[in-house]
Symmetry: C2
Subunit: 457 residues, 2 copies
């Protein structure tokens, strides 16, 4: 895609570069800029593109590249750049730069803009207030269509979208919305009140961004009004912000469930430095590694059992691992259902009951399959190992152990995320690897205890 961009960059041909950049979407330009290795290349780009053009690119850059990109411009250009940004992007960028740079950039803004920006900066980055845009079209409910259109004509360049025009009462509370088409094709004398739609959904500025994004998705909204405690309209979360939020949250959940800690770095996989990858992964590996020694400790305690019937080793990894697999499945289902807002706290017992039955069914199926395998295949394929082992008792022991392990692990996998939420932890921290490690230990205990019981060791 950037076929003509790269040669223009290489030959430092400014006008060719501008022409090629013109053809591309800013998201592609941001990707191109972010993937450059050479500092001089980046300098050429910021010197070639006007601050206004670059503002779109800046908003799409990974967090870690934003400060150095801004600092390539002179203060006067930085002011142009900041003016060209939408208010939510401006705030987002200011949240990513160092404190000194933030202070110097805030000084460049007009006093109105500075006040607005400082107000928005007060909301946490991951709340509805932190993500909303305040450039929305709003009109009061007492207008006629003609008056509304005149009002909007003034707003048309500053508002991010005119597809949803919010209608507020005298206390600035959102009571309705209207689409531009409803105004454009209505007769001028009609009161706006008569043709507006009710606003059914709003969200508090302090609410979590994920909740806002889930509402936008669920109700197919183009813009969700954000309000303060007195229900006054502050701004809106638009569909494109919601999509961005949902993607970030999904990625975070994916990573957490694989035991990868910390924030998604916003840089692409390949661009992220090894030490950053390492930091996010090695913590859980160390913790889980040391917990896994507990499994080994259980094994050592059962040395006599294992030594009297070493054939038990054949199905030990299988029984232990089956717990990790089924526990991971159960936790994934429950975590996903929770993050889509399907499960409430009161549903815990329903989930437990469902997973317990499911776990027992799965356990019986797997246990049955294992019993058949033992009785039919063992004597054929491992005749020497079977010698001296009481096959029926051995079969009972390993298949019962498998059934118990699968039932218990399914229940554990489903209940741990619910337990985490009860104590106000993010359910996704109960990563699949953590569940695997826990049910490894219980699996060892179940396996050897059952064996000792059935084989009379």
């Amino acid at each position: 895609m950037p076929e003509r961009l790269q040669p223009a960059l290489d030959s430092r041909d400014g006008s060719a570069f501008l022409a090629a950049a013109e053809e591309l979407h800013y998201a592609d330009l941001a990707f191109f800029y972010a993937n450059l290795e050479d500092d001089e290349d980046r300098n050429f780009i910021t010197q070639t593109l006007s601050p206004v053009t670059f503002s779109d690119i800046l908003a799409d850059l990974p967090d870690s590249l934003r400060e150095e990109a801004i600092l390539r411009y002179q203060p006067a250009q930085q002011r142009e750049l900041l003016n060209a940004l939408s208010d939510d992007d401006r705030v987002d960028i200011l949240q990513d730069v160092s404190e000194e740079v933030r202070a110097s950039l805030l000084d460049l803004l007009s006093s109105d803009q500075e006040e607005l920006t400082r107000t928005l900066l007060k909301y946490e980055e991951d709340t509805a207030g932190g993500r909303m845009t305040t450039s929305i079209a709003r009109i009061t409910v007492d207008l006629s269509v003609k008056q509304a259109l005149e009002k909007l004509k003034v707003l048309q360049d500053s508002a991010e979208t005119l597809s949803r025009i919010f209608i507020v009462d005298e206390r600035e509370r959102p009571i309705g919305f209207i689409r531009l088409r409803d105004l454009a094709f209505a007769s001028w004398g009609t009161p706006v009140r008569d043709i507006m739609f009710d606003v059914k959904e709003t969200i508090l500025a302090t609410a979590d961004q994920e909740e806002a994004a889930n509402m936008v998705r669920k109700y197919d909204l183009l813009a969700l009004p954000v309000v303060d405690e007195s229900h006054r309209l502050l701004g809106a979360i638009t569909y494109d912000d919601a999509m961005e939020i949902l993607e970030e949250e999904s990625t975070e959940d994916f990573e957490k469930q694989a035991g990868i800690a910390g924030e998604q770095s916003e840089e692409s996989y390949l661009r992220t430095r090894i030490v950053v990858h390492l930091k996010r992964r090695v913590g859980w590996l160390l913790v889980l590694g040391f917990l896994a020694i507990a499994s080994g400790y259980v094994m050592i305690q059962f040395e006599p059992v294992l030594n009297s019937v070493f054939l038990l080793a054949l199905f030990l990894p299988m029984v232990v691992a089956a717990g990790g697999n089924t526990g991971g499945q159960a936790s994934t289902m429950v975590i996903r259902a929770m993050s889509l807002g399907e499960l409430e706290a009161k549903d815990s017992w329903l989930v437990a009951w469902k997973e317990l039955r499911l776990g027992m069914l799965q356990g019986l199926i797997l246990g049955g399959a294992l019993a058949l395998t033992c009785l039919l295949l063992l004597p054929v394929f491992l005749p020497n190992s079977v010698k001296g082992v009481a096959l029926p008792q051995f079969t009972m022991a390993v298949s019962c152990a498998l059934t118990i392990q699968v039932s218990a692990s399914t229940l554990i996998g489903a209940m741990l995320p619910i337990g985490a939420r009860t104590i106000k932890l993010d359910p996704a921290v109960i990563a699949a690897p953590a569940i695997t490690t826990i049910v490894d230990v219980t699996g060892m205990l179940i396996y050897f205890t059952t064996a000792r019981l059935f084989l009379g060791l």
Copy 2:
């Protein structure tokens, strides 16, 4: 939220029910309907709500409930219901019902609508063509602003959105778009050509729905034009469809990575019957269970090694499990990067090189920690087990095994999804449990081989 809905339903009070339903979003009504257990309750709802009102709810119901809901209406009402649906929802619903019902419903449509619907039904359900809406606003490039507005006034009720108005040339190819605000506030004589924006992104009707949704997200689009092979405009994927697609695909990826097979059932977790849950989970459990016997087989082969130094059992589960954890992390990072479109086939070697270095670093850190544990803690906490064991050699053996296992598993975890894509499989089928099972076997081999080497067994 449905505080007033439930009592009205219970008392079979039609007008109270209608009034309460009026207050709610159709997404909430669909959720309410889907969670009813009683057939008579559902009947009351379909008898109370008009087919037109119910059409919005129908489009939001889980696939499995759609047919029985439609069949609660009489044919004449079914026609009203179908007419009220947007064309993409109508096609989506027809794809979910049985063949006989589909045929009888198609017969109810006007011949124009039937033809359009049959054309759309030809596209696979998970392609851009299968998800697009054809109710878009389109005008030709030769119009003036006044002519365009007159044209749109006619379209205003049928078009799903007027926020993006597509402009086509004489061969129906999309060459530009315009927002209603650009027309509403422009002088009437202006040619549309002068104020339109270029269309930079389009997608083929046969392309995968995920690709379309990713473009909508990446480029912050409100509607992505869908074209045929001759680049003629067929319809558009709107932002709300894109959000739905992204959620479905994320859920599918989550589930696949936990070894849960098949399509997301679209019903909520609690509503889905146990047997459906069971079917999706037990297949992988069986396959992985039997593969895990390979680990046990390796262990049996190394009986003499384990028996001469039983202390090896202490770190066996840890070394084996560390491979599963790090392999799962690596595969998650790579799969997520691929599904966000960050990695291309040519990047495979870069990924391999990155993960190999990362794996070795992680291996060295974990191995170092294990070596310290062995030398410092073992003599203190397990003095009896250490008796007769050559501690320095034992330490070298287990920590080298851990380093090798972690390095190898990281590489395996990263490369398997890439390999899957190379042979045209969905990378997400390389579920974390599959990787765990594979590296369990390699882990056993590495552990015992290293032990034999260092301990001279």
